[in-house]
Symmetry: C2
Subunit: 332 residues, 2 copies
Amino acid sequence: MGEFDLIARYFKRPARRAALGVGDDCALLQPRPGTQLAISSDMLVVGRHFFAAVDPRTLGHKALAVNLSDLAACGAQPLAFTLALSLPGVDEAWLASFSDGLFALADAHGCELIGGDTTAGPLNICITVFGEVPVVNGQSQALLRSGAKPGDDLYVSGTLGDARLALDALLGKISVAPEVLAQARLRLEQPSPRVALGLALRGIASAALDVSDGLIGDLGHILECSAVGATLAVDEATALIAACSYSTWARGQFVINLSTDQQRTLVLCGGDDYELLFSAPPHLRGAVAAAAQVSQTPVTRIGRIDAEPGLRLVDGQGARLPHTYASFDHFA
Amino acid sequence: MGEFDLIARYFKRPARRAALGVGDDCALLQPRPGTQLAISSDMLVVGRHFFAAVDPRTLGHKALAVNLSDLAACGAQPLAFTLALSLPGVDEAWLASFSDGLFALADAHGCELIGGDTTAGPLNICITVFGEVPVVNGQSQALLRSGAKPGDDLYVSGTLGDARLALDALLGKISVAPEVLAQARLRLEQPSPRVALGLALRGIASAALDVSDGLIGDLGHILECSAVGATLAVDEATALIAACSYSTWARGQFVINLSTDQQRTLVLCGGDDYELLFSAPPHLRGAVAAAAQVSQTPVTRIGRIDAEPGLRLVDGQGARLPHTYASFDHFA
């Protein structure tokens, strides 16, 4: 099967929202009047972002999910995406599963594939995603990293640390009961982009981003872009490791046994969470709760924004913890 | 140097046209009223699209050029691009040259870098490019592959076959004098996207695309999308190999000696030309010539569109040639 048959068989579907989809030199996209396009690119490399033997269906899901997560962090409504794919060869079963996983998530978000590229080479998936953000009275409604203000509450959605827990277990670094690994692995391989929450937080969150490299490092981006500091309640964050509660609940006993420091490391430095981290003024706590409810996404308050620069970690008693945690960096 | 320092040092510049550029979860782009966005992605893989030892400045140029060529083929005005880059490590000299070459071409076309991704992995460059196309009375002015009509003339811009000549010489498959290789190599490593010609052909060309996989195969896309056939004047096309005229002219003698069949193969199957192949009705020959002049881009008539399906190759005497040529396919 040649390159163009491959595209036609696995990736070409009729354009719905786009003016022109797959099959010409360019796709054509016409944003609605009064909107702007939010655009983000993420590249996934074999052996780096995923194991070569990963189920291609979950890989198709994840490749799009990490991009949709960026739209969510901007409060953008997903519209469309391009897919550039480097493949070591044509494996039809692999392609069928990969495209199934990809399109299942795309369809769930009304996000259509409008173009891309296919080439031979080491497995590499690069998706560029497009979303729509309203512009009201000349003002973009996008959620940015730069709007956090001293006194704002700091929130995170969902759970934290489970993807890294799964990765460490798969790498043999820690030992985890099979039923716990199965749950945690879903977070690693099939993250749920928090698109509905991002949309619901427009006009409420003062700053937002998605947690992909680890809570500490990503919070650092908000602090830097907003020129503020923060105090992070580490025990509140650590309580968000789903695997710990699951294991307790599942068998009436702890089936994983992580030290406090291991738990803190998972949550603060773990990465691959794809949860939204955001700030909002305290008088909007009710609005944040309503946004969580309407989007059916749990949200937990884990700290506050300070005028004083820097990040302070405190435990459940409010005592300062040493800050020795670092986020993931591809080149550090 | 970490990932974010790398981006800040080599790839972050202030946004000019975009509402928001590099540094948040998404970039924000607001197309002007009455326009639509043309979008295209191309991925370049080391060892496949370029040699590992290639001058990084020319690689930066080429990675963007092949994408701008897709905008040119649509008649779109370049606006912006995203860059996803997988790097085996941080080589500052390499990055400085790569970004120099990239931005020199970007600036020449007023096309700004608005976002992207950086990761560790085998060298891979994925660019997604955005251009603007006017919509007049609800009708897109984009040049598509699908509008060729029987009786239309068939044209190609510039020269053909030189990039493949350089590749074959660098691979040691043919022997070429150094001064000829130097010229041909420019076509392989630093193609000039025909953006000005694409813009000038709006409203004139009935169909267009850029020649990247070889003349025969790319012409096949126009024929398929337009449901027409064509007759291609092979000798007219073969006369467009710049290296052949250059070598004659440079030393008063042939410094490369290619058989007719070798020349035909270079031109018909060569690939990496990044010239525009387009059709236009015969009554617009004057307009095509004017578009060539205003864009300072040579254009040559090399055939005509037929109602009869299929592609017919003819020589300078109009005699049919056997059609045994195939285009580049990554998986064939």
